[in-house]
Symmetry: C2
Subunit: 331 residues, 2 copies
C-alpha cells in the first residue's frame, strides 16, 4: 500500500517532464555510442537501459524548468548527470564485487571488472564533453566538485569499514559522497543553466543536498528495518561492516557487553548465527530505528523548507511530494 502511494510523485514528475526525458534518453543513447569500441555501448546499455528511474537527471530537468530554462542545455546537463551516476555505479560494483544490481547481473559479472572500470572512465569523460557543450564553466565547476566529493566519500567509506567508532560527521560525509553530492549538483546545475538568481540556485542546491542525505539515511535504515516486499536485501551493510546511522546510534548507547558484540560482529566481522537479529534487537531497544527515522524526517523538512524559497511553479509541489516519498517508504 505504502509503495503504491509512494511511487506516485516520481511518476507524476516523469510525466510532466516526458518530452525533456525523451530528449535526454536520445542524447544518452547517442553519446554512449563508440564507433570503434562496441563493448562500450553494450556495457552501458546493460545499465542505462535496465530501468533505472532517471531520478538524478529528472532533478536537473525539474530545477531547470522551474527556473524557466530555454534552449536545450538542460538535456545535455541531465545526460551528463546520468553518465556520472552510471560511471559511479560501474566502479562501485567493482569496488563492492557486486553480483546483482536492479535485479540483474552486474556488468562486472557479465563482462569483467576491466570493462566496468574502463567503460566507467569513458562515461565520465563523455559527461565532461557534454558539460563543455553547455558553455558554462560554473556548471563544470559544480559537477567536477561533485565528482571529487563522490570519489572522496567512497574512499572514506572504504577506510571507515569495520570501524564502529566512526563519527556521525564522517558518516554524513560518506552519505554526501554516496548520494547527496550528485543530487545537489543535479539541482544546482539545473538552476545555473537556467540563469536563476543566486538565492534560488542556493535553495535548489540545498533541496538536492537534503533530499540526497535523507534518501541515503533511509536506505541505510532499510538495510536493517526493510522487508522483502520493498525489494531490499536486509543485512548487507551489517555483513560488510559499514558503520551507518542505526549502528552508530546503537553503539553510542551500548553498554560494555553490547559494545563487545558490535566490535566482534561489525568491527572484526566474526559473525555468528543470529547476530543480525541481535543487532536489530539492540537497535530497537535503544530507539536507533526511531532516531534514524527522525533524522531522515528532519532532512526532508529541510528539503521542503528550501523549496519554500523558490517561486511557484507546477513542478514545485511534485518536488515536495518526492521528498515526502523518501520517508514514506518507512511507514
Amino acid at each position: 500500500m505504502s509503495l503504491d502511494l509512494a511511487t506516485k510523485p516520481h511518476e507524476a514528475l516523469a510525466e510532466w517532464l516526458a518530452d525533456d526525458l525523451a530528449a535526454v534518453n536520445t542524447l544518452i543513447r547517442e553519446r554512449m555510442a563508440s564507433e570503434h569500441a562496441p563493448r562500450i555501448p553494450e556495457v552501458t546499455a546493460h545499465l542505462v537501459e535496465a530501468g533505472g528511474k532517471r531520478l538524478r537527471p529528472m532533478l536537473t530537468l525539474a530545477a531547470a524548468r522551474m527556473m524557466g530554462i530555454e534552449g536545450e542545455h538542460h538535456h545535455r546537463l541531465a545526460a551528463s548527470v546520468e553518465f556520472i551516476h552510471t560511471a559511479t555505479l560501474l566502479h562501485d560494483d567493482v569496488v563492492d564485487d557486486s553480483r546483482q544490481r536492479r535485479g540483474r547481473p552486474t556488468a562486472n559479472l557479465l563482462w569483467d571488472n576491466t570493462s566496468s572500470v574502463l567503460v566507467g572512465d569513458y562515461l565520465f569523460a563523455r559527461s565532461f564533453q557534454l558539460m563543455v557543450e553547455t558553455g558554462s564553466l560554473r556548471v563544470l565547476d559544480i559537477l567536477a566538485n561533485a565528482a571529487a566529493t563522490i570519489a572522496e566519500g567512497e574512499v572514506l567509506q572504504l577506510t571507515a569499514a569495520r570501524r564502529i567508532e566512526t563519527t556521525e560527521e564522517t558518516y554524513l560525509r560518506i552519505v554526501r559522497g554516496k548520494t547527496a553530492a550528485l543530487f545537489s549538483a543535479a539541482t544546482e546545475a539545473g538552476g545555473v543553466a537556467a540563469g536563476a538568481e543566486e538565492a534560488q540556485v542556493e535553495a535548489l542546491r540545498a533541496y538536492g543536498d537534503a533530499l540526497g542525505v535523507a534518501f541515503q539515511i533511509v536506505d541505510d535504515l532499510l538495510d536493517y528495518a526493510g522487508t522483502e516486499e520493498i525489494g531490499k536485501t536486509v543485512g548487507d551493510d551489517f555483513r560488510e561492516g559499514k558503520p551507518t546511522m542505526p549502528v552508530l546510534l546503537a553503539v553510542a548507547r551500548a553498554d560494555d557487553e553490547e559494545r563487545a558484540f558490535w566490535q566482534r560482529a561489525m568491527g572484526r566481522g566474526a559473525l555468528e548465527e543470529g547476530d543480525l537479529a541481535h543487532a536489530q534487537a539492540l537497535m530497537a531497544k535503544h530507539g536507533a530505528f526511531d532516531a534514524t527515522r527522525d533524522a531522515a524526517k528532519a532532512w526532508i523538512a529541510r528539503a521542503k523548507e528550501s523549496l519554500e524559497r523558490l517561486p511557484e511553479h507546477p513542478v514545485k509541489p511534485m518536488l515536495a511530494s518526492l521528498a515526502d516519498y523518501v520517508v514514506a517508504r518507512l511507514h
Copy 2:
C-alpha cells in the same frame, strides 16, 4: 651508452623548466591531498612521487612557454595533465592486474584494486577542477576529448587482445588511446592557454600526437627487441596476446604454417617453450623489426616537421631532441 646520450634532451628540458616544474610539483602535492580521506594522498604519493619523468606536464609547460604564456594557468594545466596520467596508470594496473610499475609494487598490490579505482576517480575529478580554474572551456574540451579517447583506446585494446587479424587502423587507434591522445592534448592545451594562433595550436597538437605515436610504437617494438639494460621486460605483450605493430607486420607476411603458429601462440594463448624466440625469429625474417623502426622514424619526422611551423624559441631545439631521443633508444 645510447641511454646516456638519450636522457640528455629530457633533462635539458627539465632544467630549462625547473621553476615551472617546481610550481607544478607544489600544486600536485596540494591538490592530491584530501583532508578527510588520507588513503587518497597515500596512494597518489606512491605513484606521483615514484620518480616518473613528468614528461606530459613538461610538454604542456614547454608548449605554453614557447607561445609566451603569462600568469600561472600553465601550472594548473600541467598538474591536470599529470593527474589524468596518474589516474589512467592506477586504472591500468587494475585492468592489467600489474604487480610492478617503475620498479616498485603497484598501488593495487600495496593497497587493493578498490583503492586504485577510487583514487583514480578522485584524481580525474581533481584534474577537471584544475582545468575549470584556468577559465578556458577550450582547454576543458581538449582534455575531456583526450580522456574519452584514452578510455576508448583501452577498451579497444581489451577487445583486440588475442586477435591477430587486428588492422593497422585499429592498432593506431589503440596507440593514440594509450599514449598519443594525452601527449597531443598536453601540447595543444599548453598552446591554447598561452593564446597561440590557430596554426600554431595545430602544429603543437600535431607534434604531441606524432611524438606520442612514435613513443608507443617504440615501446611496442622494445617488447620484442629490447634488452634488459634498457629496463624493459621482453615478451609481456606476446604473453598477453596484444596485437602490436611488429606482430601485425609479421602476421601479414606469414605463410600458412607461420600463421598457424601466431594463431596458436597469440590468438589462443597456448604457449609452448621457445615460442617467444620463434616469434622474434619470424619478425627478423620478415623484416618486421626494421619496418616497425621505420614507422616510428616516420612519425618522429612528422613531429619535427610540425615543430618547423612554430616560432624560434630556446625550447624548440629541445623538443626536436626529445623526438630524436624516442627512436634513439632503438640503436
